[in-house]
Symmetry: C2
Subunit: 190 residues, 2 copies
Amino acid sequence: MKEFEHYIKSYFGIVQEEDLKNIVSFFKLKTIQKGNFLLKPNSVCEKLCFVESGILRTYRTTDTKEITLWISKKGHFSADISSFIFEIVSQWEIQALVDTEVYIITKEDYNKIGALVQKWPEFEKTFTISCFSVLEERVFSHLSMTAEERYESYFQQNKELFNQVPLQYIASFLGMTPETFSRIRKKQLL
Amino acid sequence: MKEFEHYIKSYFGIVQEEDLKNIVSFFKLKTIQKGNFLLKPNSVCEKLCFVESGILRTYRTTDTKEITLWISKKGHFSADISSFIFEIVSQWEIQALVDTEVYIITKEDYNKIGALVQKWPEFEKTFTISCFSVLEERVFSHLSMTAEERYESYFQQNKELFNQVPLQYIASFLGMTPETFSRIRKKQLL
DNA sequence: GTAAATTCTTGATTTTTGTCAAGTAGAAAG
DNA sequence: CTTTCTACTTGACAAAAATCAAGAATTTAC
């Protein structure tokens, strides 16, 4: 079984091989060139994608600054979920930071899964609630941890990103300025 | 139609009156006395509840401090969603800050809805994705706003809570100390 | 109603983080 | 290879927020 299939199985809580095969069959492997966009602001998110290799960044530009909401590496999903599901206009943009391979499913195909996979609503629920939990822990980290603790925690989990992603994006993702990030970094290296 | 029903209709995206009646019929109105718990830590969340009146607080106690994740007022739902859905142990506790009327549905009854309401998976999805969006905006607020801006924004939306909820809980919810909260508060009043 | 406990406020101080500005290093383009 | 652009670092300083401690106000318990 491909690694991608393992991830799908786990994220969606799938048990039967046939269900897995059916779901996976809708995903198509594509390459996004560095700098290209998977989602443009003020449009509807029409693709849900799974990062097979490379890195995607989800961000929003405000009057004064750019906010990075997600940095998605191998094994992560990426999309504006509420835009994708409700077909409403998204405020976010998603860009490839390096050449990135993604398994993509379009909204059109996504809507077809239900007819093929009887338990799809259950799988979909597993997926969305898991996403919810990840976010909840992230809120908790902002309520309970300092910038330095968030740095340390993220660094431990994502070491490999620190020499691939412009550090200012990681800083924004963690809710601090590039300068603060740089100083914490220096401190940790000593 | 009762106000409660309006909220259910809107949160779950229900169109047909019959679906609404069926879903609503599972919820029972109960009163939680001030100080009593809807969820105790290290237990599974077995109830999803809707606040009809009063206020609930969801929080977690760490080694050094107590973190308030949610303050739920009239019109809000309250539960540990992932614990409720996956039936896993919750890290959170939910306590009534004043005598609180809630419409409660047990997990047992919740599981019965599907048999009665054909479109239930669709409604459930609408509900969970909406919850996700709320959280996402909250993460965004921590990435993009100062403590003072978060205070101001929350105050504008929840003025009535400021003379009912111990302010230290609101401070924690907004990710700041009670002292900082108190000083911002003083500043705003001038 | 009074005492006790809790919550809130305030001041003084320290720590953390942000801002501004300059300089350096590194990547991309020609 | 050289130039240009961008990202990163560093220093000096300012602002924001946390901490500690004390006192005032409010709530709770008796």
